[in-house]
Symmetry: C2
Subunit: 119 residues, 2 copies
Amino acid sequence: MATSPHEEETGTNTSLIQARTKVLTLINVFAIAPERQQELVDVLVEATEQTMRHLPGFVSANIHTSHDGQRVVNYAQWRSREDFEAMLQSSEARPHMARAAELAEFDPILCEVAYVDHA
Amino acid sequence: MATSPHEEETGTNTSLIQARTKVLTLINVFAIAPERQQELVDVLVEATEQTMRHLPGFVSANIHTSHDGQRVVNYAQWRSREDFEAMLQSSEARPHMARAAELAEFDPILCEVAYVDHA
């Protein structure tokens, strides 16, 4: 039912990027038609709120919109690669991933944080 | 001179992802041959330490290595789009960007944070 970010979630929530942790980072870049960018954001927010955040090992989802309208990037964090793989296999997650796949091409990058420099 | 992350920088530094801020996020995805992944990380770390962090509006650089060895992602934050554009024009930044471009194809995505959900 989530359609747009709620104040209490986007206003106060903060994700952390730190090097040398065991957190798995998934950087998922979606290519989208600009007129459907918001629709894709809504699908990803709904997936997060209905399903992902309730699965074991969920750390964060951070959904970015490109200025040119042609991309959406989900910078997601999971406690471990095992938790992430279990999510991929879960019957709850699959319909959300299928909906996103109907809307956009995506390129998921599994990675770790090698270096952080903050001013 | 930087060759690898220094303990004092990666051990204690933390970047924050928050929605509804004016921060510009640059998600730069580099495609690289796996045997040169570490070399590219070193180039980006050096660029950050020698130059980027000293430019006005630098907030953070967060360099990620993909598990398959084929990508490096710099999740960078600048105070504003204007600061980022000024960096692109600066004579100090250009040699670093040229070195990275010699090593890898890259796809910079300028974006903002639309939504954050943290467990």
